[in-house]
């Protein structure tokens, strides 16, 4: 159950990104690199928002390229707009289980359990606008937990949080990912975040994605492009 990118070439206008790598299952991998190097482009391709120009993306040996985003074993959290503002937290989370208007009793209990797990019991009937930034992140994470997908892509969903809240969220993500045996890829701009939660890292720079490397080794002896970005 690993994510394999084989001779993958992504093209977006004049921009081009190559990748040939394998992310092991149940790993927590940071994706680091200068701005505009193509970290989000890589995620878009894995999630199914961007067709690849050539090469293969496969999960557990199954090629993903002809599956629409919703049918891939992939769940992605974006920087914002992860929750529908017109729905309650309970409804937002419940969408992971059913698209029907009413949840079954069993589903309702599952939503309740997962909200308790992320510390949002009491919040099921509130709208996102009534929640704090940290609570919104927790609600999005709760839905991720119910979605039953094995590969989580986190595109800096916690970047708007303060440092304390952010590290608290990262710890929570790591815990629940381990409980669910999920494989996590996380884009980050903060080397400390990577060191804290991600034993492995991918480096996206100079038109290619490479790795995975051991995070500490990569950050201690960064290649030139990364060193410039980190300001070493």
């Amino acid at each position: 159950m690993a994510l394999r990118l084989e001779n993958l070439i992504l093209q977006k206008g004049a921009f081009r990104l190559e990748a040939n790598l394998t992310v092991p299952e149940n790993s927590f991998t940071a994706v680091i690199g200068p701005s505009g190097a193509g970290k989000s482009t890589l995620f878009d391709a894995v999630a199914g928002f961007l067709p690849s120009a050539s090469g293969n993306i496969s999960w557990d040996g199954t090629p993903l390229f002809d599956l629409p985003p919703g049918k891939r074993p992939v769940a992605m959290l974006f920087q914002d707009n992860n929750l529908f503002p017109h729905l309650t937290i309970g409804q937002n989370v419940g969408l992971a289980l059913t698209q029907k208007s009413r949840l079954s009793e069993e589903q309702r209990q599952a939503v309740e359990r997962v909200l308790i797990r992320v510390g949002l019991e009491e919040m099921a009937n509130r709208k996102p606008s009534q929640l704090s930034g940290g609570q919104i992140s927790r609600a999005a994470l709760a839905r991720l937990l119910l979605q039953d997908k094995c590969l989580w892509l986190l595109d800096e969903p916690f970047s708007a949080l303060g440092p304390a809240l952010k590290s608290e969220m990262l710890k929570l993500v790591r815990e629940v990912a381990e409980e669910k045996n999920a494989t996590v890829l996380m884009i980050t701009h903060d080397p400390q975040d990577a060191r804290a939660v991600a034993p492995l890292s991918l480096l996206v720079a100079e038109n290619s994605a490479a790795g995975p490397f051991k995070t500490d080794e990569l950050l201690n002896n960064p290649p030139l492009a990364l060193a410039e970005y980190l300001g070493h």
Binding site: G70, N81, H86, L87, L95, A96, S129, Q147
Partner: protein, 506 residues
């Protein structure tokens, strides 16, 4: 966004509904006939009155918008809201109101007579003109007012710090804004006035004041000259079509929520002449808009008590037609708004002439059935098509915004087809959807157009019944009917618009 097949079916249906009747007119006419002097004169008159109406509306709207943009006074927000009313006001009701103020028996004539001056008459070109300005001055004012409120507040602060004279302020801030807004407003009004029918029918007529739309009606109803009707229909299509195309390149999406157009804090215009001019402009525009509407209320209240039964029957017809037409319009608008090509198709409604469409549908139905029995369904379809461009232009931006903001999250949840509408689009477009439905209902309720082709004593809508009462000089009954129609139109708009706002979050 929406599943393509649905959008394609809706687009195909709308195109067919527009094209087939047109083809029917040509087929039955055996081609068009050549243009005679009367047709040329109708064409000239149509363009000329539309040009003058648009010009005058814009010229008057500039000082009005300027005064509203920089003065605070009690009732300002109400006045700005009322500026939106003429758009959904039934034409025939407004005309009754205008007659009550400016007509031979109207308030101003009475006033003039006490001074021994001659009465006014508003039949002919200047009547058409007056009615068009009544409808479109508020529209122009709102459009220009919006332009003013989009000028960043910092510019006025900067101007105040630099101590710019009002002349310099005009050159640096106001003129560039007007140059951007006014041509759009002018063209919108020009296009609207090109298809003027009900106004020309009631206030114009005669060789000197006949629009192309009115000429189509006359060719069809009085002469049953299909060749002439077909030629005029083509003329109208080319005329309005060309103007609409130019217009579409110029204007952006129609906003459903012009809001109150916040008052700008400005430091100029504090001199006494500037203040008095602004006050005078505001008072005049308020009177011009409110007096006719108020007189409909005052006169109508008397007639409302004993309306003939025929009026209530017609009201029942109108409510049914309006509701069905609204449903049809929205059913077309939703799939069309979600596809770029669909948005273009919906704009056919701008370019089409209701009378051409009505004539065509009449000819299609005639071999098989008595077309007069189809008066109400035909009216319903034509009204839906006419409201379609407004509905699509109101809904499309919200739909695109919902997709841009939440489309990927919806993709991640595998929300497709109906589920995507149910969970994402419909909740996100509630407000513009309610607005569009309100517009469609009010426009259909007050429409006096295609129904008049199919006029038959048993199947009248309320505007047609009112037109007949006016024609029979039953002015009390006509007044009561006008009030009823006014309340139904505004009520329908209010209900739908409120429904869209109710419980809609962010």
């Amino acid at each position: 966004m929406a599943s393509r097949p649905v959008a394609i079916i809706a687009g195909g249906l709308v195109t067919a509904l527009v094209a087939v009747p047109l083809a029917a007119v040509f087929y039955r006419a055996g081609g068009g006939s050549s243009l005679g002097a009367a047709e040329w004169s109708a064409l000239r008159f149509t363009v000329w009155q539309a040009f003058l109406s648009a010009l005058l509306s814009c010229l008057l709207a500039i000082p009005a918008a300027r005064a509203l943009s920089r003065r605070r006074f009690p009732g300002r927000d109400v006045l700005v809201t009322i500026l939106g009313a003429p758009f959904i006001l039934p034409v025939i009701v407004a005309i009754l109101g205008l007659l009550a103020v400016f007509g031979r028996e109207g308030m101003i004539s009475q006033l003039l007579m006490t001074f021994g001056l001659p009465r006014l008459s508003i039949y002919g070109l200047h009547g058409i003109f007056l009615a068009h300005v009544f409808f479109n001055l508020p529209l122009a004012t709102r459009l220009i007012l919006q332009g003013w409120s989009e000028v960043p507040a910092e510019r006025f602060r900067l101007a105040a710090q630099l101590g710019l004279s009002s002349r310099a302020l005009y050159q640096i801030i106001e003129w560039p804004m007007l140059r951007k807004t006014v041509p759009g407003a002018f063209l919108v009004i020009f296009v609207i006035c090109l298809s003027s029918f009900a106004v020309a029918l009631t206030l114009g007529g005669g060789p000197k004041a006949t629009t192309v739309e009115l000429a189509i009606y006359q060719a069809f109803r009085f002469d049953f000259d299909l060749g002439k009707a077909a030629t005029l229909a083509l003329l109208q299509l080319v005329l309005v079509g060309t103007a609409s195309l130019v217009l579409l390149r110029l204007i952006g999406p129609m906003s459903s929520d012009v809001g109150q157009c916040r008052v700008l804090q400005r430091w100029d215009g504090q001199s006494i002449p500037a203040k008095s001019i602004d006050s005078a402009v505001i008072v005049l525009i308020a009177l011009f808009l409110l007096l006719p509407i108020l007189s409909v209320f005052m006169r109508g209240a008397m007639g409302l008590a004993d309306l003939p039964l025929s009026v209530w029957t017609a009201a029942g017809h109108s409510i049914q037609v309006a509701l069905a037409s609204t449903a049809l319009c929205i059913a077309f608008a939703l799939p069309l708004a979600s596809a770029r090509q669909g948005q273009t198709v919906a704009l056919l409604g701008f370019a089409l002439s209701p009378l051409v469409l009505g004539t065509g549908l009449f000819l299609i139905l005639q071999p098989y059935t008595n077309p007069f029995e189809w008066a109400l369904p035909v009216t319903c379809v034509v009204n839906a098509l006419m409201s379609l461009p407004f509905a699509v232009r109101a809904i499309a931006p919200a739909l695109e915004q919902a997709e841009a903001d939440y489309g990927r999250t919806a993709d991640m949840l595998n929300l497709t087809g109906w589920s995507r509408w149910r969970w994402l689009y419909l909740p996100r477009i509630r407000r513009p959807l309610g607005f569009a439905a309100g517009l469609a209902a009010a426009l259909s309720m007050g429409d006096l157009g295609v129904i008049i082709l199919f006029a038959d004593p048993e199947r009248a809508t309320l505007p047609l019944q009112m037109y007949r009462l006016m024609g029979a000089y039953q002015m009390d009954a006509a007044g009561g009917t006008a009030l009823l129609l006014l309340m139904l139109s505004l009520g329908a708009f209010w209900l739908f618009d409120k429904g869209g706002r109710y419980g809609s979050s962010t």
